[in-house]
Amino acid sequence: MRLYAAVALSGFRRFATYRVATAAGVFTNTVFGFILAYTYVALWDARPGLGGYDRSQALTYVWVGQALLMTTAMMGGGFQDELIERIRTGDVAIDLYRPADLQLWWLATDLGRAAFHLLGRGVVPLLIGSLAFDLALPAGPLTWLLFLVSVALGVVVSFALRYLVVLSAFWLLDGAGVSQIAGLASMFFSGALLPLTLFPGWLGELARALPWAALQQIPADVFLGRHTGTGLLRVFAFQAGWALALLAAGRALQSVATRKVVVQGG
């Protein structure tokens, strides 16, 4: 356990090294936050109460989304490219010799990365957004805490999904195509572009049942205090359920993949 904590810390430190890049990222998140916020204002002016949000809740949704964009790596990224490259070059064989679990190792680095991105690229845009617009921020510290739990679960779901994408490289060698399609699905079905409650009919029901809903829709709703009591337990169970199911799937696929590596190695 201490090993993985150290790995997570090094993941945090690694991203904390790039100060200029972080400042540039904060700038970009803020610009996109403003653009999105204005389109939401126009949309909610035309249809007040759309999707069950009032105007300030919709704006809060935008800025929480910007804070979570890098944290849950909705557009992809994080450990993905590095591990795909290690699989392509065969360096992954060295990783498999190590006395640490491959999946847990990368999960730890990704949690460290997510923690840094939440602090480094999440806090400032949310702060600027709350100064520029009238946001519905949580009143009590408990909601903030529940939000953090929901974000952590969302990061694990995101990791588990991206891990599956990475493992596909054992068969395809080049992960670019799959990564791109996975990023696409993630942006659309996480609610990063538009809240999933606005998706019409069966598309909305499907989107809300898929694992990507755990990335932005659920943490944002927890932040807005839309889930309480048993409802809250239900969304946490939804997130944790998908996290466990996807991690298990990753584990199963990994054992098939590593057997393949052994065969190739002769």
Binding site: A21, A24, T28, I35, T39, R47, A176, G177, Q180, I181
Partner: protein
């Protein structure tokens, strides 16, 4: 060379081109979802927003196809591979632009022009010779303005080294901004993208003239035709920034 190398993996090329097509289409899918709840956004109908979307996406696609590799400059400055380019007897700008030239970016232009075509079939525009001439003028000068932003952003990397994301907010962010009617944004923001970073000349001003709409800043009408001039001025400024940046470049080793 890069075209040939991409074509070596035909299936992969098709997949990424299709992926590019779908990625850019996601923006329009969002707009369609918005319009499933409302009939107008900021006073603009769906075909009108599609017209704005199509014009900026096509112009941005042209710039992205030719200059989209410019954001790799920061990495080259950091790892020192820029030095290789300095030794070759070809302008550095041309080399950086051609670096990993990605034909898959055709996906964005295709998607943008399809939406533009659809919007034109739905809009009831009172066409005059002038308005017809404005169409190619708008797309080409728009592409040039976005291209200038790409180059200026790359020039900024000579100093910042690690800040390609700032460039993204002006290129990709600007493209997203111009997909929506100017009427929904705060006046100061519209002023900023008209007078400071003149993105409004990519499509807002000429497109509002073609659609027969007033611009929210009530600017003099002749500005609607100023896009080519603005494009030339932008390219000049970007070129100057690039030269200054390149001159001040010190390789990582020294």
């Amino acid at each position: 060379m890069w075209v040939r190398s991409t074509m070596a993996y035909r299936a992969s090329f098709l997949m990424t081109a299709l992926g590019n097509f779908a990625t850019t289409g996601l923006d329009f899918a969002t707009i369609l979802l918005m319009f499933s709840h409302v009939t107008t956004l900021g006073g603009f109908s769906l075909p009108e927003v599609a017209f704005l979307y199509g014009t900026t996406s096509t112009a941005f696609g042209l710039a992205d196809l030719t200059m989209g590799s410019m954001d790799r400059l920061g990495r080259r400055v950091r790892d020192g591979t820029l030095d290789t380019l300095l030794l070759r007897p070809v302008p550095v700008l041309a080399q950086v632009a051609a670096d990993r030239f990605a034909l898959r970016r055709l996906g964005r232009i295709t998607q943008g022009s399809l939406v533009l075509g659809w919007s034109l079939s739905r809009l009831d525009i009172d066409w005059t010779v002038l308005k017809v001439l404005m169409m190619p003028m708008m797309l080409l000068s728009g592409g040039a303005i976005f291209g200038a932003v790409f180059v200026a952003g790359a020039a900024f990397q000579f100093w910042a080294g690690d800040a390609s994301e700032v460039q993204n907010s002006f290129t990709y962010g600007g493209n997203t901004l111009l997909q929506y009617p100017p009427s929904i944004f705060a006046k100061d923001l519209v002023r900023g993208v008209t007078f400071i970073v003149p993105l409004a000349f990519v499509n807002w001003l000429p497109a509002l003239r073609i659609l027969g709409r007033d611009d929210p800043l009530a600017l003099p009408g002749w500005l609607d035709f100023a896009s080519p001039l603005v494009a030339v001025a932008c390219c000049a400024v970007a070129g100057l920034a690039w030269r200054t940046g390149l001159r001040s470049y010190r390789s990582t080793g020294s």
